[in-house]
């Protein structure tokens, strides 16, 4: 039939041109086939390209999607269902056809066919609605119609996939089994060309592993210390085990920042330059599963957002990001939005997870007549467990205590506000510290007012104290406050005029290092906050970083090449501020202690250990002394060897010197200068008179 049509059409065209009244042209010869002419060329040869474009029955089949998991409803509710579904699926493109298969009794069968105007729209639907939670009991499964064909075509003969050989990872936690519980630390130097991992043994740290070009910029330990992450132009690699072999690789071109979830289950990598426009798939932020190495979800990044963009809850269950007027909380392992929608928070400025509970603290700025407020939001219930309104707020900063017992909100408040077109100018700024007692009923809030500028704030990680640096540099003061139940925090100690700008608490509390970094030339003060004795003061000139080891026994200070171009070195101190080791490395960049997971001991066990500390410490001291004497013995041994070698050489030299004595004397006109150097008897004594002082005495007549 098609052939007929086509030849008819050709005929018609010819007729048209014939009928065209055009006298100037000569009459065209007749191209028509004679009657009864049998074409010996097949149409396929003649116009194969046209035939190929002929519509087929299966055309458009790829723009059909099949949705399973649709509620089964009786005939009376079909229309309603259709409306709801239409609304949902219209978003993705123009629906040209839809079909609801029905049971004989007129109820729906629970699946729906929808045809779109083109295949790309169908793909969109697949992406957007596969796994869509329609309601509590119904989750959609969406497939392309063509998929069915694909699965039908699967070969009958099934080849079992060859199982991947099991890769022995070794014990990733081996570093915790160190006999003396020495900690490891990583050192990046020579501008990032070299990375070394040391074990902090006394008196000399011992080198465990050193590799050139291990990373391209820096390294990071995972939060529990299991993995060492290295940065490369193509992505991130994780290393671990005794030999630091590669565990897993994440390919993410241009990655610059990473963030582990607190339990190390997931890794967030951020590549600020990744162009997401090239493909529809977001490229900038990728969340990976650390164990399997698989990509879990990708996100786009807003340009101006502060890092980290995603903040994790303490148990890896949730992660959240802030948007304009909303807070998006995602849950794992589905990586979907919690309850499918973001939390609307008008004017949200910042948020922070509690380090021990699934509670988010966020604050919103002032808006016309509504005051600023800090809200504690419990998840996943979304209960606002505490709301605190604050007035005349310029800015807020939230500090969780590491044990999650307290939250302190530093509020910058103003006395006067002047609006200058778009600029807002605050004057008479003063500071309030609002302390939330998280472990008490109703979460009472206490407040401390500080008149001076606050330079730094830090909670004691375990305990009830916090420290504040306030005042204008260089005449800053440091104050310590104690938080008590139902009382306003009381100041327990104030150090006037302490030149420092950073506070570093020991991970187990009690001890703190007050540091004046960078512009304050690296002054260090080691303070015991139990009785506020200054245990020691020190200085690491131009220090840029201070870091405690995970057990709180040692402190490292560093002058990083990133911050200061000369004298790059790291120094190790005891927690009392005794200098142990100075290591100068060319273009040293970074020192990081390998973290430890939290202790598995119960509170009672720790208490028992503390009780019998005296017994243990005696043992340890003996061990330490042994090590020191062994080390000094080794050193002396080494020196003796060096001296021996040198003495041999010198002896040889002296013999040669003695042999050449005659020739030397000849050279100096037969004057023996070898002997006279000690100012021997041959030298004649010479008296030199020096003018020392002049005195004029007037003598009366």
């Amino acid at each position: 039939m098609a052939r007929r049509k086509e030849s008819d059409r050709a005929q018609q065209n010819n007729d048209d041109s014939d009928s065209n009244p055009n006298d100037e042209l000569e009459e065209e010869p007749d191209f028509d086939d004679p009657e009864g002419y049998e074409d010996d060329i097949s149409e396929q040869d003649l116009m194969g390209d046209l035939i190929r474009q002929r519509p087929k029955e299966t055309d458009g089949v790829e723009s059909i999607v099949v949705i399973d998991g649709v509620p089964q409803v009786g005939p009376e509710r079909i229309e309603k269902l259709q409306n709801v579904l239409k609304k949902l699926f219209q978003k993705f493109g123009k629906i040209t056809n839809e079909y609801y298969p029905l049971n004989p009794d007129g109820s729906t069968k629970g699946h729906v066919f929808i045809e779109y105007s083109n295949a790309s729209e169908a793909l969109e639907v697949l992406k957007g609605t596969n796994g869509y939670k329609f309601d509590k009991n119904h989750t959609f499964t969406v497939n392309l119609l063509t998929d069915f064909e694909k699965y039908n075509d699967i070969l009958d003969k099934w080849e079992n996939p060859v199982p991947q050989p099991f890769k022995e990872q070794g014990c990733l936690q081996y570093y915790l089994l160190d006999q003396d519980a020495c900690d490891q630390f990583s050192v990046v130097y020579e501008q990032g060309d070299k990375v070394a991992v040391y074990l902090n043994t006394q008196p000399e740290p011992s080198l465990l592993e050193e590799r050139p070009r291990w990373t391209e910029t820096l390294v990071r330990w995972s939060p529990l210390g299991t993995y060492l992450a290295t940065f490369h132009a193509k992505g991130i690699a994780l290393w671990g085990g005794e030999k630091f072999q590669q565990i897993v690789r994440f390919s993410h071109p241009g990655v610059q920042f990473i963030d582990f979830s607190p339990c190390e289950k997931y890794l967030v990598s951020f590549s600020p330059l990744a162009d997401s426009r090239a493909t529809d798939e977001p490229q900038a932020i990728i969340i990976w599963d650390v164990l399997s190495g698989l990509k879990r979800r990708a996100f786009n990044a807003d340009k101006s957002q502060a890092l980290p963009i995603f903040k994790w809850s303490h148990d890896d269950k949730y992660f959240a990001r802030m948007g304009v007027d909303m807070l998006s909380v995602y849950e794992t392992p589905s990586f979907g939005l919690l309850d499918k929608k973001s939390i609307k928070v008008q004017g949200i400025r910042d948020f922070a997870w509690s380090p021990t509970d699934n509670t988010i603290a966020y604050w919103v700025g002032e808006e016309k007549d509504t005051p600023a407020r800090v809200t504690l939001l419990e998840l996943p219930s979304r209960n606002e467990v505490r709301v605190k309104n604050l007035f005349s707020v310029a800015d807020c900063k939230m500090y969780w205590q590491k044990s999650g017992d307290y939250l302190c909100v530093k509020v910058d408040r103003y006395a006067k506000l002047r609006k200058d077109k778009s600029d807002i100018k605050y004057s008479g700024i003063y500071y309030n510290l609002e302390v939330f007692h998280m472990r008490e009923k109703q979460i009472p809030v206490d407040s401390v007012e500080i008149k001076e500028t606050i330079q730094a704030f830090a909670w004691e990680p375990v305990g009830t104290k916090f420290a504040v640096i306030h005042g204008e540099p260089p005449s800053t003061s440091v104050s310590f406050y104690e938080v008590k139940t139902g009382q306003t925090p009381t100041m327990v100690k104030k150090y006037e005029r302490k030149p420092c700008n950073q506070l570093y608490w020991a991970p187990s509390g009690q001890f703190i290092v007050l540091a004046g970094l960078r512009s304050m030339s690296g002054a260090l003060e080691f303070v015991d906050t139990q009785d506020f004795t200054v245990m020691n003061t020190g200085e690491h000139f131009m220090a840029t970083d201070v870091e405690w080891d995970p057990t709180g026994r040692y402190v490292s200070t560093a002058v990083s090449w990133w911050g200061h171009k000369v004298d790059n070195a790291y120094w190790l101190w005891s927690f009392q501020g005794r200098i142990l080791k100075r290591v100068a490395l060319d273009k040293f960049c970074q020192l990081q202690w390998r973290p430890r997971p939290p202790s598995l001991l119960s509170a009672q066990q720790i208490k028992d250990i503390k009780k019998s500390l005296k017994k243990y410490s005696a043992q340890f001291e003996v061990k330490d002394r042994l090590k020191m004497t062994k080390a000094s013995k080794e050193l002396v041994e080494k020196r003796r060897k060096l001296m021996q070698e040198y003495e041999d050489l010198r002896k040889q030299k002296q013999e040669e010197y003695a042999e050449q004595r005659r020739r030397r004397i000849e050279l100096r006109n037969n004057v023996d200068t070898d002997e006279t150097e000690g100012r021997g008897g041959e030298l004649e004594e010479e008296t030199v008179e020096f003018f020392i002082k002049e005195e004029t005495t007037f003598i009366d007549e």
């Binding site: 000369v566 003796r640 030299k653």
Partner: protein
């Protein structure tokens, strides 16, 4: 003890040297007149007037009769120590960077800079007959360093048979005087060698380099024996004549000094154990890098000359002699 501060120069010190007896100290600076001082009390005896440029290098012969100075005015001048009169002068094509009397005092060497298309050159001259016609004297030996790094520091080798030159790129070369050929070359330093000094018996050689290290060499074989590491360019190093100690001086480059605090500069004189390569003491004082260091021949005093224009004479405290390393 409080050091003696000798302030007779208006510009930065370039080199200081004791005579063999140790009673006199000679100093040169970037001003035009080298000075001579009593080392016992720091009194200035006099100056040698005649140069018209930076005096880069000086030396005195073993009898303390003749004094030699090489300067940026392309002149090498030989003086009578006692009277301060110029005995003779040689005009070079470029500025004279180093000059040394031989062990015998009969010969001297000097080397010139490579500038304005002229290569750096090493000259050996006879100084026995010095008079006004001296300048026309041909050198005994002339070694042009064409297409080679310039010589920055020189010393005489054993028995006046060889000379050792330190170069701009850190190379050390040994030259045979009889043939004028290079007989040995070692490249242990990464950057320019600023200074070389021999031990008392001439068996060892210490080099000071811009690569922040000083190294001890066997003066005959040029085998590198020890390395003393610091964080700053080393401008000068000396070996104690009585103890197994070396002293290193240097500091941040003079051109960077004004931009940072003095504490960044590290202008201390630093004492290392000769054998163990361990630092055991520092002497503060200069407020610019140290350019030249010298031990008194009796080993009880040392002198340092700095970019700040001061020469400081330090007498060692008894504790210096009491200090012993365990071995």
């Amino acid at each position: 003890m409080k050091p003696l501060m000798l302030h007779g120069h208006e510009r930065s010190i370039t080199q200081i040297k004791y005579n063999r007896d140790g009673d006199l100290l000679f100093s040169s600076a970037k001003d035009n007149h080298p000075c001579v001082w009593y080392s016992i009390n720091g009194e200035r005896l006099g100056t040698y007037e005649g140069h018209q440029g930076v005096v880069w290098a000086i030396d005195v012969d073993w009898e303390t009769k003749r004094f030699m100075s090489g300067a940026g005015d392309n002149m090498l001048m030989i003086w009578d120590v006692q009277t301060g009169k110029a005995l003779g002068k040689i005009e070079a094509k470029t500025s004279v960077r180093t000059c040394n009397f031989s062990y015998s005092g009969n010969m001297a060497l000097y080397s010139t800079d490579s500038t304005m298309g002229n290569p750096s050159e090493i000259f050996i001259i006879d100084v026995r007959t010095v008079d006004s016609s001296f300048s026309t004297n041909d050198p005994i030996l002339q070694i042009p360093l064409t297409n080679a790094p310039k010589a920055t520091s020189m010393v005489w080798g054993n028995l006046d048979e060889v000379v050792i030159s330190g170069h701009d790129n850190g190379d050390l070369a040994q030259w045979d005087l009889r043939t004028g050929k290079k007989i040995n070359l070692v490249s242990e330093h990464a950057k320019s060698i600023n200074d070389m000094q021999l031990s008392k018996d001439g068996g060892f050689l210490i080099t000071a380099s811009r690569d922040c290290t000083a190294k001890l060499f066997d003066a005959d074989t040029l085998e590198c024996l020890k390395t003393y590491k610091t964080e700053r360019p080393v401008n000068s190093a000396a070996i104690s004549p009585i103890l197994d100690h070396v002293v290193l001086g240097g500091g941040q480059d003079a051109m960077d000094v004004t931009t940072t605090s003095t504490r960044v500069g590290k202008f201390d004189a630093r004492f290392f154990h000769l054998v163990f390569e361990e630092e055991f003491g520092r002497v503060k004082g200069h407020f610019g890098p140290i350019n030249s260091l010298a031990f008194h021949p009796d080993g009880k005093t040392y002198a340092s000359g700095g970019e700040d224009g001061y020469v400081r004479l330090h007498q060692f405290d008894p504790s210096y002699f009491d200090f012993k390393f365990d071995y």
